[in-house]
Symmetry: D3
């Protein structure tokens, strides 16, 4: 979308294209992955999805909710930069309003950051409330985490072991494989930590206990990650997104569903 002129974009929208909005984070991902993992993967999934359905991809909303200890390692790592919940929700509501005002009524958020979910939910709810007050009842917003749109059997087949808890998959096999597949030259597997799967207590503490998190910032062991696995996961996530959009907006992108 950032590369389209407004008339080109307007034509796409008028013809029924969905607008995909990648939302990510700027957050540490261990010593072997870069800080941009979450928004880069969300954008990559969105772009690949847009090759299969009639969709344009908005530039990513880079900054997400504050990293939490048990799902992202927490704020104690340099380079982890998060927004307050209200700021994030307000800004995303504004983005949704702006897109709807410009004629788009098929919107889909592609979320790449575990901690974002509820604040995106709030943003969508506030936007829908406002749309109803403004007589824009026809706008529909899909909200999906790309990393929940694949069959975990893939991971199990490649990696073995018990079912993974995606909450712990921060900088682990899942994200590392995707990065090896998509942005291999940004991965430094030599720096990948050798560590057992991290187990967290079942609660949170504020201020956070920094020592709950491995010093590397990775919450699980990424060594079994491979580009081949990354490709398989990626394709599955993209197919999952495609199915969602077809279900919600019609296989022809005509919103008939």
């Amino acid at each position: 979308m950032a590369h389209l002129s407004w008339p080109a974009y307007a034509e796409r929208i008028a013809n029924g294209a969905v607008v995909l909005i990648p939302v990510g984070a700027l957050e540490q991902h261990g010593r072997h992955l870069p800080l941009g993992v979450d928004f880069m993967l969300a954008e990559a999934v969105a772009l690949a999805t847009a090759e299969h359905v009639d969709a344009v991809v908005a530039p990513p909303f880079v900054y997400g909710y504050k990293s939490q200890l048990r799902t992202g390692g927490g704020p104690q790592f340099a380079g982890t930069v998060g927004l307050d919940g209200h700021s994030l929700s307000s800004a995303i509501t504004d983005v949704l309003r702006g897109l709807a005002r410009g004629g788009a009524d098929k919107l889909a958020i592609v979320d790449g950051h575990y901690e974002n979910q509820m604040f995106l939910t709030e943003a969508c709810d506030l936007a829908i409330r406002e749309f109803r007050q403004s007589g824009r009842d026809g706008v529909k917003i899909v909200q999906a985490r790309y990393f929940e749109q694949f069959d975990e059997a893939i991971l199990k087949r490649h990696v073995g072991g018990p079912p993974l808890d995606l909450a712990y998959e921060h900088a682990g096999v899942f994200e590392t494989s995707l990065f090896l597949h998509l942005f291999g030259d940004l991965v430094d597997m030599d720096a990948a930590p050798e560590q057992a799967f991290k187990e967290f207590p079942s609660y949170d503490c504020h201020p956070p206990h920094d020592d709950w998190v491995p010093a590397t910032g990775a919450l699980s062991d990424p060594h079994r990650a491979t580009a081949a696995l990354g490709r398989e996961i990626f394709d599955a996530c993209v197919q999952g997104m495609v199915r969602i959009l077809e279900t919600e907006f019609g296989p022809e992108g005509d919103g008939s569903n």
Copy 2:
């Protein structure tokens, strides 16, 4: 910064690097330029600046304040997506807080969108107020519009005529030249409008008079734009940014000034 791991980023910061934060907009730029002009140019200037001073570039904050009729064409164009003022200020304050918390105390906002200025000022002011309450008196934030960091004599020499009003330079000679230089394949000069320089009344009206704006969305005539002029402007802007950072943070990036 998005491509660095957190330890690599932490080392840069510890050694005194400035963090540059490009802020842009998603906003129509006529029929010949794409919607992403403002954040793409802000990021390009930031990246080039970082080749001359010790700086890392944060991923761009893509979405800016709502487009205004007299400086950006206004909200009536599809694809123009802006944030409310409070959302923008809050989110940028959060970004500044997050960077400072991670150890960075040399921050510089590179603004690429005319309407952002006062809301970025508010964000910086609120951040500094909070830093003082938190005992972080050492953080300094530079706030600069990249498009004010060059000598307008350049434009005059190339283009002739009266001094340009940068407020009207939306999708005009200035931005088009920069885009021809940096992202030439995203410019469609065949679609560039033939129009006299737009003159606006000296006030605003709400709701906006859409007919004040040319149907193309360009506020001035971009035809005299060239890649050569773009290069000259770009280099001047980058040099301007470099001088600012050296002035404020020291030629060695050691903050001695």
Copy 3:
């Protein structure tokens, strides 16, 4: 705490008591359970916990975040009343500030509503940020969902079948058993739905698809619920909370950990 005079409360706090803050919701729980399930269970767990550790229980913050389709059935049921995210976070931050101002520095939130978690996290984070600015570094806040403080093996042993997804346990075996144990006369098992375990899509839609949810409002089949199972779960949750408080605030409630 609501039944203590201020001097009696002040003495408890001065002697090191933890303040437990139950947070719940007013939300449909099927035809067989009442609207108050979430805050009533959170308060019941808190009160039982306070019999084992040195703690006082604040009156419950009854109203929680807006019910979501995939975890609570959603807003389409009469009697489901939720707060916006910012309202909830702000009010809880205020409660934490007020307790800390009154001398309490051992605080623990006992959360009984699935959708509350991130907004409570935000409230705690904002409170801690403010405490630091105010020189109140000694305040520690534990944030725990009571329903994650037991071994799911209990459920499996009683109920059999695959591991339960607590997100779906809304008005299911888990909550119904607890209610049979604690508030049996408020349960109408004759009204309990016969339904297969509900499976949801892997994404959200706004406005929500009301037809994703069974007309009863229960997301899974509560028929295998028993008071005996409820007792076992309840005791396990209370023990879990006790362990957390002892870990974080010391076995003597002296905060030595």
Copy 4:
């Protein structure tokens, strides 16, 4: 309402029941009364009112606006926990919205805390503004302090002396009598202070002069309080509330007025 299932609640609302929303505070009430006085009395009045009119009682919104020196003793007492004005107004607006969305259009706030009034007024005003934008013109909200719904002649007849200023009645004859009648075992008359009626200056000071308030926290002398007086006041308040609801929503609860 917390004890009703959603279908039972929905039926009551469909048949025209009013929803009563008790709002209170957690605030010191001298050495002889507990911290929960305000929300406990508001709830008690609401429950008794609901025996005389067709009404359901929502669970109390426990936490109210910050205690002020001249009406509640102020924040210097441990156990006094108040919300910021905006938090309280926002949360109550949300509660009103949620109830209205679920079909209730006869709403009544029963306020038990002196300092709440204007912030509840703000909440109601914001809710009505939003309802109008949403085409929900039929919702009516009554806002009443229960302690203003009786004839002060009762107090005068029992207690004698000059007319009481209810602002000073914090933990005095009025509230103590009500508590003796309703929750007698939570009153410790031995701890009741012997003190002359407190006279305050005619202005406020920030930060507050803590020494304006008796060390006990009671603003007037509660010794003449009796359970008999409490019963008379209570019945009068309930009758007052009943009259209000009948006036505003019709004697049959049919909203014909």
Copy 5:
């Protein structure tokens, strides 16, 4: 203060002057008084007070909280313009911060609008909270309604009858007398309503019952108002304010109290 240059103002502050901040409203005051009554009277009292103590008067904050039916006649009258509670509190907090930042630590709000009180209280409380976080513990804020700083015996002696309820004194004997004394040519006694004292119910309704208010907008009968009474009231209010400032900031304005 508006007429002083900054060095002149700075000198006054350095010498210990109090800054008085009149806060009013723009609100109907019957057919015989103008819309500006509340801020004009607050400013007049502040200016007269400043002749007796060492004080400078800030320009009035004209706009106050929304007019309520039972104290100001309500929003249904053209020309009644009020702020939302949060807007008013935030703006006044900002004014207090700005004055404190400029060196003033003796601040006094002179309130002329009945409905403002709690939102000014909130503003002062938030300002003091922030001052403490910023190490500005020395700032003291007095908050006084000018119309509570006189002995009601004056009114009784002039007017006779039962004690007045100031809440009903909107556009009645009190304000009309003051206006006759201070701004006599803005009073149109021929337009003053002949009406019995208005009695209101003991609760509020939202949306408001406009017919509770006399069509004139005056809540009581102003006919016994005289300029002589106005002078006596005015002098008493000013003396009351002077006493408050001397009590709180010392007779020499040296803050020794």
Copy 6:
């Protein structure tokens, strides 16, 4: 407007009068001008404009956005008191809402403070958004800085030299001339600074470099200011405002344009 009774105001509005809303600031203006310059001039222009078109003038919104170094000298001067951006926008939105609710649909903001512009724009945009949701599509708001409504040729003819940058005209020839014309006895030309035109860097720094600003607070040399020039500028500004109102609301004030 402050001097009109509500029926008199209502009649003016019903007959089509525009409501002018002066917005200013309390801000240092050098040693020779008082702190109230911005709101006093905005109000003076509005009052004079109202003599030529059918308009009533609301009392000024005195307090504006925070003074910035490069346009107003910045916050380091005693007596400079500014609002946060969100507070200002919210309060002005409220004023616009209140005026519209009272029947006015021709509104015009007369801005006298350089830094206010974008926050007033935000206020107008939010008000219009709300008006549309409320079915008040007919409200039109003009937003004009009075100081941009004259031909700079006037200044050039009187003063000579290069075109002035109004951003630097803070307490310079422009404002000083206007004050000499309108409020001559509040000008102390003996205190006017002898200084070269101030040149600022092309960026901002936070916290601000106080030494960028002359110690006097004046950003340019006011010595060539005269009352005669002030009269000419003033008349031109008023005529400019008149033209704008006639253009937008019709020469007969009938809104036909």
